[in-house]
């Protein structure tokens, strides 16, 4: 004890020095000035680094429990995916698929069961018939665009007259200029058709989308059909003949949708009455 006291007394100037320096520095840092801000910034940086290092170590030590939690999460999500897939399948089977159509048009989904593509009069057979509400003159579309028109129906199957049939005639228009014409296929390539009747004063752009114009009661307006690949003159020279690349890929067409309730009987009756008046 005596030696400790002696040590303190011998080196008391060191303790006084440290005490006075501490008092001075406390005064410096408690003063609301530059040094205080630097001190706090540096101190925060150092403390932040220490916390970061501690956090890294503790994170490493708790990796086992974290892994366990992640595994549980993965399992839960796997179950959820299976559940959602099952739900999606049911929803698809419910035949309410909307290929970019306005909501007030209902469609019935169908699968292509047979198709010919290398004849003049190509036809597609789908696995939906009258019992599913399918009637002749209903439009058929796929996710890419127009496929064709239903021409014959049995109870369980229907025959579709596709775009790639020489007898097919579908009203169309250019998306931007809105000039309209008629699509007509020429035997040959299954991805090319021709739009006739486009007036010569129309400004046609290469790549412009060709879509349904809604004049018929088969397709609502605005369903894409294809795009302009080339502009040619028609045989009579009075209009353009547009070479149109078809969006729908007939080579591997599988899933299609039939537009079921677009046909408006009232409009049809009215137009038939008008026709009979003209005949009389």
């Amino acid at each position: 004890m005596w030696s400790l006291t002696e040590f303190f007394l011998k080196h008391k100037h060191w303790f006084v020095f440290l005490l006075l320096e501490v008092v001075s520095l406390l005064g410096l840092f408690s003063y609301d000035g530059y040094q205080k801000s630097v001190y706090f910034t540096t101190a925060n940086g150092i403390v932040g680094n220490i916390y970061s290092a501690v956090s890294s170590v503790t994170s490493y030590l708790t990796l086992t429990s974290t892994n366990r939690e992640l595994e549980a999460d993965n399992e839960r999500m796997r179950q959820e995916i299976i559940h959602l897939k099952a739900k999606l399948k049911v929803a698809n089977a419910d035949s309410i698929v909307n290929h970019g159509l306005p909501r007030h048009y209902s469609v019935v989904s169908a699968q292509v069961v047979n198709a010919t593509l290398h004849r003049s009069n190509n036809l597609i057979t789908i696995n939906r018939g009258t019992k599913d509400g399918i009637r002749p003159e209903m439009g058929v579309v796929c996710s890419r665009g127009v496929v064709g028109v239903v021409c014959l129906c049995s109870t369980n199957y229907s025959i579709v007259l596709p775009l790639v049939n020489t007898t097919s005639r579908i009203s169309c228009r250019l998306r931007h200029s809105e000039y309209f014409g008629t699509l007509q296929w020429k035997r040959g390539q299954s991805d090319i058709t021709y739009a006739t009747g486009i007036p010569r004063h129309a400004k046609v752009k290469m790549g412009e989308v060709v879509e349904t114009n809604g004049y018929s009661d088969i397709f609502p307006p605005g369903i894409p059909i294809g795009f302009v690949k080339r502009v040619e003159d028609s045989a009579d020279g009075m209009s353009y003949l547009l070479k149109v690349g078809i969006f729908a890929n007939f080579e591997n067409l599988r899933e299609v949708s039939v537009i079921t309730d677009y046909t408006q009987p009232e409009r049809k009756i009215l137009e038939e009455q008008a026709d009979s008046l003209t005949l009389n």
Partner: protein
């Protein structure tokens, strides 16, 4: 107290090159003879710096620097004097000789100004400017101390 008043009223207004301000308050600590209690010298140094801080708005910078100088002064005096350790003397040109006294004062001022400007800058950014301030202020304060010493000696 006269020196403190001079420092606050005159020397604090000197800013050569924007940063060089001599701290002549260190001269008080330089002049203490070699038998003064170290604790007493420390308290004296602290109070001198504290008073300077109060009037100069430097909050702790001068008190810390002066306390450090008070701690170092006996060692520096012992280093640059030729006297026997038990012999009592007051550091001045007469007792130590011009060059020894000048070196002693220079190192005392270097300690004081280094501590003061290091605390003032408190960062290593712009360190050339800090070095210029330390060097310039040390040189100027040394010359002023020498001038004061000569002036006091002549009066005596």
């Amino acid at each position: 107290m006269l020196l403190l008043a001079l420092q606050i009223s005159i020397f604090n207004q000197i800013h050569i090159g924007g940063d060089v301000t001599p701290l002549l308050i260190g001269y008080m600590l330089v002049c203490f003879q070699n038998d003064v209690s170290r604790t007493g010298l420390l308290v004296w140094g602290f109070l001198t710096g504290f008073l300077f801080d109060m009037f100069s708005n430097t909050a702790g910078m001068a008190s810390a620097s002066c306390t450090l100088l008070a701690m170092m002064q006996p060692k520096l005096l012992k280093l640059f004097s030729t006297f026997d350790p038990n012999e009592i003397f007051t550091p001045n040109i007469q007792s130590m000789g011009l060059w020894r006294y000048l070196t002693y004062v220079f190192f005392c001022m270097l300690v004081l100004h280094t501590a003061f400007y290091a605390l003032d800058a408190f960062t290593l950014q712009n360190w050339p400017l800090t070095l210029i301030a330390i060097g310039g202020s040390t040189a100027m304060a040394t010359l002023l101390c020498l001038f004061s010493e000569m002036f006091v000696r002549r009066r005596k």
